[in-house]
């Protein structure tokens, strides 16, 4: 319990650090939400400066940060100039979509990677394993965005799958949702899969080559039991740590894929906010992704803590 409390404290500190850095970087970046209006020249300079001071953009950085912190405490996470409202509800609306996509893809990728990786490690050096290795290398070298575009093109050409969005107009059934999920989940899963399989394969191979696995084999332990009962639990440690990282890395991939397939998650919101220089929303999404990453790692560390009694830090 004390371990969890300490980890939570670390996480809060990390979030605070990320928010401070984000503020500093936003200050260094040129322009703000009103720069575009200014460039168009239709709004007078006086009006613009009035708007800026009305929205507090002319205040010094530390003060703006303090105001932002207060709004975080109220659950508002700042004020979006583009949406003319607090950021909190905007994020809350988009988070479930992104979570659904990332958790589903991560889960699916791991479900596939574990058996394939173990199988591949058990058949190291045979033809099938070589074929698998080559296909993984090819898959690894295809960018996710290209994969998404190819799948979308196929979907549009054939009409088998919807080419974007989360629901068909008027349709809200589970089947409809799954049909919309198919492309983004496939892209994200295939993107993560080669990395995971390689890690599972090497972790299992390493554990299989260790002296205790050899000793177990010498005792005539059947191959299946050897792999599942002896080797896999030992190979699991590095994989559990990877689980946390995979959640975080998938999130960043997900933001891009969401934009491409028009998935109503954080991705499109983030992109729009960047183009509009709607800083509060950008910061909100950054904070959410950081929290995802922290949560993923925390879950992984707790699993590791449970799985291996040697790791009691």
């Amino acid at each position: 319990m004390r371990y969890v409390a300490r980890r939570l404290m670390h996480s809060l500190l990390l979030l605070a650090g990320v928010s401070v850095l984000s503020f500093v970087f936003s200050e260094l970046a040129p322009g703000d939400y009103y720069s575009e209006l200014q460039a168009e020249g239709r709004v007078s300079a006086a009006t613009l400066s009035a708007l800026r001071s009305q929205n507090g953009l002319d205040r010094p950085l530390p003060l703006r940060y303090a105001i932002w912190l207060r709004s975080v405490a109220h659950g508002e996470f700042g004020y979006s100039l583009a949406y003319q409202g607090p950021v909190g509800p905007l994020l809350a609306q988009r988070i479930p979509g992104t979570l659904l996509l990332t958790c589903l893809s991560t889960g699916l990728a791991w479900l596939l990677a574990l058996p394939i990786g173990v199988w591949s490690a058990a058949n190291r050096g045979y033809q099938y394993d070589t074929i698998l290795k080559v296909s993984l290398s090819i898959l690894l070298s295809i960018p996710e965005l290209l994969l998404a575009i190819i799948l979308l093109a196929i979907a549009v050409q054939t009409g088998w799958l919807p080419a974007g969005g989360m629901h068909s107009p008027g349709g809200g059934s589970l089947i409809d949702l799954l049909r919309h999920l198919a492309i983004p989940v496939t892209v994200l899963t295939l993107g993560l899969l080669p990395v995971l399989i390689r890690h599972v394969r090497s972790a299992v191979s390493e554990a299989m080559g260790s002296a205790f696995a050899l000793a177990a084999a010498a005792h005539g332990i059947p191959r299946r039991r050897l792999l599942l009962r002896h080797v896999l639990p030992v190979a699991l440690n590095p994989l559990i740590s990877l689980l946390g990282l995979s959640l975080g890395s998938l999130l960043s991939a997900s933001l891009l894929v969401e934009v491409l397939v028009g998935w109503p998650g954080l991705g499109p919101l983030f992109l729009e906010a960047i183009f509009a220089r709607d800083f509060a929303v950008v910061l909100g999404v950054v904070m959410v992704s950081t929290s995802f990453l922290i949560a993923g790692n925390l879950v992984a560390d707790l699993l590791l803590y449970r799985a291996d009694p040697r790791i009691r830090v």
Binding site: Y126, A218, P222, H230, P233
Partner: protein, 251 residues
């Protein structure tokens, strides 16, 4: 020896081949060539040789971890009654298993006995190697080096083996611990009538523990004699080199 032989090895040969990625194989190193020996019940045969002489390959063939390509291994018992104790017994313990699980695992896979029976036998095996029952719940990282060594021996003992192959199991231990384990092995031999094949590069150790010493060099057995006669009966330069080396070390 004759009918009293526990193990008879005739014409054993082993060549390691390399697997090609498309599935073919290319012949590689010839590790063992026409090996013949017998081990009598309750006796110890030492197999001594320099690195790369084929000692470990021999151990692995005897334990069934490698398939020899020629020759026969006649063993008076079930295959499981040959047990192998590794070069680093401590590393041969699964880090995620408790001492009880380590020792019971051979019984579990053979579906021998109920759970409480297995626990009793595990405790008995631990007792035989001088470990207390209280360590049953501990994992290997919570044990000392000597305890791990004994645990590995207990695991071999639990299936009531007729032959234990010790593959450099005593090397790399500090002298005092080596002495303890050697005494333990000798004690188990006299009480349970187990035969040992002691594989080592240490001729001194072999002379103290074994009734007979076979010298392995380049995959051939070049000399085989009781320790006292080895020097006078040796015919091969490899044997003389080993004797000379052990004398230097003894001084």
């Amino acid at each position: 020896m004759g009918s009293d032989a526990v193990l008879t090895v005739r014409g054993l040969s082993k060549t390691y081949s390399q697997r090609r990625w498309w599935g073919g194989t290319v012949p590689g190193i010839r590790a063992l060539h026409d090996i013949n020996f017998t081990v009598a019940r309750g006796r110890t045969l030492a197999v001594v040789g320099p690195s790369g002489s084929g000692k470990t390959t021999l151990a692995r063939c005897l334990a069934g971890l490698e398939q020899p390509e020629a020759g026969e291994i006649q063993f008076a018992g079930a295959p499981v009654e040959i047990q192998l104790i590794f070069q680093q017994p401590a590393a041969s313990l699964n880090p995620r298993f408790s001492a009880a699980e380590v020792v019971e695992e051979p019984l579990v896979i053979q579906r021998r006995g109920s759970k409480p029976e297995r626990r009793d036998r595990a405790a008995l095996a631990l007792e035989r190697v001088g470990l207390s029952r209280t360590i049953l719940g501990r994992r290997s990282h919570q044990l000392s080096g000597g305890e791990r060594q004994r645990l590995a021996i207990a695991r071999a003992l639990i299936v009531e083996p007729k032959l234990i192959v010790l593959d450099e199991s005593l090397s790399g231990l500090d002298i005092r611990l080596q002495e303890h384990i050697a005494r333990l092995l000798a004690d188990l031999q006299s009480r349970l009538g187990i035969s040992y094949i002691l594989i080592t590069h240490d001729l001194g150790l072999a002379s103290r523990l074994a009734a007979e010493i076979a010298v392995l060099d380049g995959g051939h057995i070049v000399d085989c004699a009781p320790p006292a006669d080895l020097e006078s009966r040796s015919t091969h330069p490899a044997t003389r080199e080993l004797i000379a080396a052990s004398k230097v070390l003894a001084v």
